[in-house]
Subunit: 477 residues, 2 copies
């Protein structure tokens, strides 16, 4: 689709701006039409968000941004556009007027997507010059990050649209039949309605409802959806078992909303067959482990953001944080932990840089021990790592409990040299070693200088106690 | 709660096994009662999953596992238990029988939670010896990973239960009033019902439904729930605006399920006030960025698992992967990328180990250039990194586009020395340097040896072309 290059965005709100960002950051030229005098500012705000998020999803270089411009009319915007995206307010009369104006001025083979969350393509196409040109391309906010697009309309048009969306890294999903609200918004509607009842009846607050979602099934749905999750719940017996076990619950008086499809053998078979086609290449045990690895990776990702389930984990870690080592007349344990799945690559090897992280974390513990902490850094002094000589001795596996044994080899003046051994706790196997050199610096002059005050006293004492010990055996090999 | 130490698990299926794992891996002794002769095997399978996932959520050392045993009767299991968790089949008559047996033998101050997803505590308590002792503690599968627990029952009992669950790293949520199916399952029921209609009516397959969830709103719900997400959608005008804009949609004929609470001013105020209490400490712009950072972190976490939205990103990266450098008569660009949010710590600094990752990735490109690739490794030969001397020159920020310029300093025999410069692309600022020494090894003998065949020819040519170039300026400083 390299010939498709220009997108016209009709309506520059949060959704239109999100579309603009998606195209622009994937190298397309984008022209925006919106009568709102604030449109340029609003689109600019969405773009600022997108620029700080979307490119960093990639681990390779990203395309050069396209050119952004604003049109004074729909005619100007669409005259040579390859993709036209309508994101105007959800009123059918407005959409009809705008779509008519678009078709009057755009190329006959341009793709015209509508961001409508509620209308069917047959409704949008009413009275159109070329009905087959108009289709639903329903995105999810933020459009510059969430990949899925519901496509509804004429198959041949949708296939062209799908190729374009594939090319800009999205996940187009062709909906088989048109229906009010397409697919996802039917779920969102159902959940929103239940949530309103729960708040109204005083069962839960908005915060409690959000927590029950994000600390629970929300994380399941970020990686598997409804059916794959329940396939696992059914165990080795699979989807048929799940439906047999939980299906009847639907006729219980659980919600205020009652009309439930009858679970005939035909419907059960249909679901079970589709589930087999979707997930049958994995055993339930495999699916469990994939699910668990995904959940761990998601929760650990949120840990880095200190948010939601990740904040909870950080709180729990803080409660379990071990005391700093105090016995310094021998090498001491600086770190104990288990190797998590997000440190492994596809091939099940621990990423090389994570060894560096383990040793850097171990070195940080020594910094804490001598008082070279956040306050000390704030005072303008710090240790910088100059070099890590890492030896890789044995393979580290997912789930290995490891600890690091540290010896301070030299702590004199500006120079601090440590030696770390990373050991598998279960069998005492030496996995990796690190000869680490740090230099004490002034953050102001960015030059080496002597440590000061209590840090100087503590690091000197530590150096004197440890440097006269015999060198670790692995160093002498 | 350090005095609470023993959990009795009544019913050892997937849910009971998950509870057992949660307690056990948090240092509790666990005793299981289940008449199923397969119970020990089944619990063992859940435990095996839990052991490979739960401990690695922590970045500090984890508690020593408690002792696991199996009881021959409920009486034996509960006689000295501090927490008793009932997870037997969802039939009220069965639950009544089991709960009566538990209360006959357990301490009067033991906590008795039920995993029921549907029954209210008042139903469970019918005819009980000490009704206030019995409460709902409804978990989500997998119990050893998902933290949320819905607690329903008598307040004083629930507060004790909450303290216990806090202590084992969970997220207890006290439900304000009892209601069939508590909170989360009402949402799950509503979504499941809609999904059945969509499959039955041929609108979407199970795969398509799952995709629309996991590539879309599922990721939103893994980190913010329903209301916080919609608060953002409402923009600066917030929740009241959102309800005004989208509330009326609920009366549209979108779903087969119709009974919608009337959006009175009172209900609108209640929701808006609760939303303020929940999220009002952040502006909408802040919430947008928190959301975006969370989404990026989640998607990049799934990228590491090559699953769902992460697999999509990997596919897109593969399509955009740049060609290997071919001009070797000058230092060459080995890597171009943008700094992602999951590389930053809380304080907005790039984690030290990620510099190592950048340089390791840059070194990998040179490996690809000389043919020391997966096949070469499979043949038993490889380069090992011996040391990285990393210089930290200027601060790297989130979203910085960077590239690495690499010069091969020496490539003779077993030894390969490279020098990498990490440069901010926007302003050409040198951020970090790495003097990297690799040694060619036989993976069989684990000793240094000369490279072979085409790799030898290519690395020698590369070394000859590059080592005679002037040293990079930053090396000479």
């Amino acid at each position: 689709m390299s010939e498709i290059k220009k997108a016209a965005i009709i309506g520059g709100g949060v959704i239109g701006g999100g579309w603009a960002a998606r195209f622009l950051l994937n190298g397309w030229d984008v022209i925006i039409s919106d009568p709102d005098p604030e449109a340029e500012r609003k689109v600019g705000e969405v773009l600022a968000n997108a620029r700080r998020s979307l490119p960093a999803l990639s681990d390779v270089s990203v395309p050069k941004e396209g050119r952004l411009s604003f049109a004074s009319s729909i005619a100007e915007a669409v005259s040579d556009a390859d993709w036209i995206q309508e994101s105007v307010p959800e009123r059918l009369d407005i959409k009809h007027t705008i779509l008519a104006e678009i078709q009057k001025h755009c190329p006959a083979d341009a793709l015209i997507g509508s961001s409508t969350s509620g209308f069917k393509p047959s409704e949008l196409q009413q009275g159109a010059a070329r009905p087959e040109q108009i289709f639903v391309a329903h995105p999810f906010n933020p459009v510059y990050l969430l990949p899925v697009i519901e496509l509804v309309g004429v198959q041949a048009t949708l296939e062209r649209a799908r190729d374009v969306l594939d090319g800009i890294g999205m996940k187009p999903l062709i909906v088989r039949k048109e229906i009010d609200a397409h697919i996802a918004d039917r779920f969102l509607e159902a959940v929103w309605r239940e949530a309103l009842w729960l708040v109204k009846d005083g069962i839960a607050t908005t915060q409690e409802i959000d927590d029950v979602i994000r600390f629970g099934f929300g994380m399941r749905w970020a990686q598997m959806g409804l059916f794959e999750t329940y396939r696992i719940a059914g165990g080795e017996a699979g989807m048929r078992h799940f439906i047999a076990q939980f299906g009847p619950c639907l006729s219980w008086p659980w919600t205020k909303l009652m009309d439930v499809p009858e679970l005939t053998d035909e419907l059960t078979d249909m679901i079970a067959d589709q589930s087999d086609a979707q997930s049958g290449m994995h055993s339930i045990r495999e699916l469990e482990r994939i699910r668990d690895d995904n959940l761990v990776a998601i929760m650990r990702a949120l840990k880095g953001r200190n948010w939601g389930s990740g904040e909870l984990l950080n709180t729990h870690d803080a409660r379990n944080k071990p005391a700093l080592p105090t016995a310094i007349d021998a090498p001491f344990t600086t770190l104990e932990r288990v190797i998590p799945v997000d440190w492994m690559d596809y091939n099940g090897h621990m990423n090389e840089s994570r060894y560096g992280q383990v040793f850097s974390d171990a070195g940080d513990v020594v910094m804490q021990m001598v008082g070279a902490d956040q306050d000390y850094i704030a005072s303008g002094l710090s240790y910088f790592t100059v070099s890590n000589e890492i030896g890789y001795l044995n393979e580290t596996h997912l789930g290995d409990a490891i600890h690091v044994r540290t010896q301070v080899l030299e702590a004199r003046g500006k120079k601090l040299r440590m030696y770390h051994e990373m050991i598998r706790t279960a069998d005492g196997e030496l996995l990796s070693t690190c000869n680490q050199l740090l230099i004490h610096v002034s953050l102001e002059t960015r030059r080496a200088c002597e440590p000061e005050g209590e840090v100087l006293a503590k690091i000197t004492a530590l150096g004197e106690a440890q440097s006269k010990l015999p060198k670790p055996a692995s160093m002498r090999d």
